[in-house]
């Protein structure tokens, strides 16, 4: 491709670089700006007087003696006890990922190794389930959950998120298991293994790349979910995302917008680290579904 690039006329190369640079700014600038601004006071980040205050931090200097302040973070994490929401998110994500990978691996493996027609229908059903907006299901949960006292617990939310996650997990693991040659477990079965033993001793050692990729997407779903967590959790065990939404209602009136800004930046950091370490897996996961067409 390098040779082809050299043959491009100058104006075209300039256009390509210009376009890429524009997109880069569009994609990255909002995040950089917000991270920078989260260390300022509100009058700097939302400056009526002069927008450059957000860069230099005039008001922050006047108030705290330095251009940076951690007041927003203190307010969010200590005063508003955002760490509770952080731990709740950690618990939900951990259990959602573990449970949905365990049952999804078994199901996806079965789908990839059965040659009967019903696997096709199961996959289509999963696709239809995937297409349904989660919010349409929430109305169906509330009444039974209230009746049976299941509402408001982290465990309920975890199970619901696992179930909503299953269609996608099945599709993804199905296509990963398809890539593992069937001869592997067939030969184990010839040697006298049952199907489960073949899975346990032959497939499990080689399945990790696909499982890790799928796990990343399960994590993202649980981490980013707003609808289920905001409708099924009580105020005292909210996760981060519904808590940020709740901040909006209260902080605008109390003048603590910077708490919300700090909370937003805090909640973005784990995702940032995730992309940094697992970029390759995320890219391969996004394309895994596409390869099948």
């Amino acid at each position: 491709m390098a040779a082809a690039a050299e043959r491009r006329p100058v104006w075209m190369r300039a256009m390509i670089y210009g376009f890429v640079a524009t997109w880069f700014i569009l994609a990255a600038f909002p995040f950089i700006w917000t991270v920078w601004g989260s260390f300022k006071v509100e009058l700097d980040f939302f400056s009526i007087a002069d927008w450059t205050y957000a860069l230099t931090g005039e008001r922050t200097k006047a108030e705290y003696g330095s251009a940076f302040t951690d007041a927003g973070y203190r307010g969010a994490w200590i005063q508003e006890e955002f760490y509770r929401n952080f731990f709740n998110t950690a618990i939900v994500c951990f259990f959602v990922v573990c449970t949905s990978l365990t049952i999804g691996t078994l199901g996806g493996y079965a789908l990839s190794r059965s040659s009967y027609n019903y696997t096709f229908w199961l996959l289509i059903t999963a696709l239809i389930f995937r297409a349904m907006p989660p919010v349409t299901l929430v109305a169906g949960y509330l009444l039974p959950f209230f009746q049976w006292n299941l509402w408001g617990h982290l465990a309920t939310t975890i199970i619901v998120l696992v179930a909503i996650n299953q269609p996608f997990t099945l599709w993804m693991l199905h296509s990963f298991f398809k890539k593992i040659p069937q001869e592997l477990d067939e030969s184990a079965k010839v040697d006298g293994c049952t199907q489960f033993q073949a899975f346990r001793h032959v497939i499990i050692p080689v399945m990790w790349p696909g499982v890790i990729t799928t796990g990343l997407f399960s994590f993202l779903l649980a981490y980013n979910d707003f609808v289920v967590t905001s409708m099924l959790l009580e105020e005292k065990n909210r996760t981060m995302v519904p808590q940020i939404a709740a901040f909006l209602g209260t902080t605008y009136t109390e003048g603590n917008v910077m708490f919300a800004v700090a909370a937003v930046v805090s909640a973005t950091v784990p995702l940032f680290i995730l992309v940094m370490f697992f970029q390759r897996q995320i890219v391969s996961g996004l394309t895994a579904g596409a390869v099948k067409g």
């Binding site: 909002p30 079965a110 169906g140 890219v283």
Partner: protein, 342 residues
């Protein structure tokens, strides 16, 4: 694999999906034809000496509570909820139809009804954002693909951010920037030359803002998929086209795009499904005064002190019908492919 083994392997995931996806749909269907009980009224006769007796109608609190506990679903009302003003509003639409003189006034009055208002934004959002993000994603993929190797990795890293970040967080970040005191907002104010200019005050601009957010947050998905597709581009075909004297545009048009067509279908399918459920940006941008979506009205019914389960359920069923219509071409095609194979 034997049926029996398959059954045991598949059982856990099947139970999860049956209990928490299939059963709630049934439950939503049932709830949508039941309305909450009306309060039980009793007539009490108040007699005061000299004045006489008056009968008063009062709510019998105890009987109402008993009735609500005995039948938590409510009373059966058939399709009434679907047809009332908050949903399909058949009567109102009929009235508007017969009294409106022009198409313009007909539509503007229709869009004041909550369901149609949400429907119009949801459809506009879905069918503007999806093609736009595919085009933008393709352009980014082609441009990044021609960069140097080290730059590619950096571009992919930063491109993933808008997509991977929690939708509410992403929309808040943009919202704070376009706030009239934020950096982009104040730039727009000085551009417009009107100190009271605000994106939030106008319906049209709010829609534009939400649509831009939609494209910004989903274009990376299209970009990554197309970029991966470009890596498997058959070199021979491209070289043959070059030898035959195809211009760059012709190479893109006749070699690259046909190669990517299955991926375009895939991205379009996923994005249609995801954009149809648009909800978080409306909350993040605090835009519900100017734009509501089908998902938003369901959440609005469910939230707050009075959880209007019946209304939310009816809206959910209508949304699911919408999803089914959207998905039907794909399902029909898959079914035809399947029949051809077997």
């Amino acid at each position: 694999m034997k049926h029996r083994t398959f059954f045991w392997f598949f059982l856990p995931t099947a139970i999860a999906m049956l209990l928490f996806i299939a059963a709630p749909i049934v439950s939503v269907l049932i709830q949508s034809v039941f309305a909450p009980h009306e309060a039980v009224l009793i007539e009490v006769e108040n007699c005061t000496p000299l004045v006489g007796c008056t009968t008063e109608t009062m709510i019998d609190q105890e009987a109402t509570r008993d009735l609500r506990e005995a039948q938590p679903l409510g009373r059966f009302v058939g399709l009434d909820i679907y047809l009332d003003r908050a949903h399909l509003a058949i009567e109102e639409v009929g009235q508007i139809w017969s009294t409106s003189e022009t198409w313009g006034s007909f539509w503007s009055r229709i869009f004041n009804l909550p369901f149609y208002r949400a429907m119009s934004f949801t459809l506009t959002y879905t069918f503007v954002v999806t093609p736009a993000l595919i085009v933008l994603g393709l352009m980014i993929a082609l441009a990044v693909n021609s960069l140097h190797r080290h730059l590619k990795g950096l571009m992919i890293f930063f491109s993933l951010l808008p997509m991977i970040v929690t939708p509410i967080i992403g929309s808040l970040i943009l919202f704070w920037m376009v706030d009239s005191r934020g950096v982009l907002g104040s730039a727009l104010v000085s551009l417009a030359g009107d100190p009271n200019f605000s994106l939030k005050a106008s319906t049209g601009l709010t829609w534009v803002m939400l649509i831009i957010y939609g494209i910004w947050s989903s274009a990376p998905f299209a970009f990554v998929v197309f970029y991966a597709g470009l890596q498997t581009l058959p070199r021979d075909t491209l070289e043959a086209a070059q030898i035959d004297g195809a211009t760059r545009w012709q190479q893109v048009r006749y070699v690259i795009i046909p190669h990517l067509t299955p991926l375009v279908t895939f991205v379009a399918l996923i994005q249609l499904m995801d954009n149809f459920r648009v909800l978080e940006p409306i909350i993040g941008f605090n835009a519900s005064a100017h734009a509501t979506s089908l998902s938003w009205i369901i959440l609005n019914d469910l939230g707050g002190e009075t959880r209007q389960l019946s209304s939310a359920s009816a809206n959910s069923v209508l949304t699911l019908i919408g999803v089914a219509i959207l998905l039907s071409p794909v399902l029909v095609r898959t079914w035809q492919d399947f029949k051809r194979k077997t």
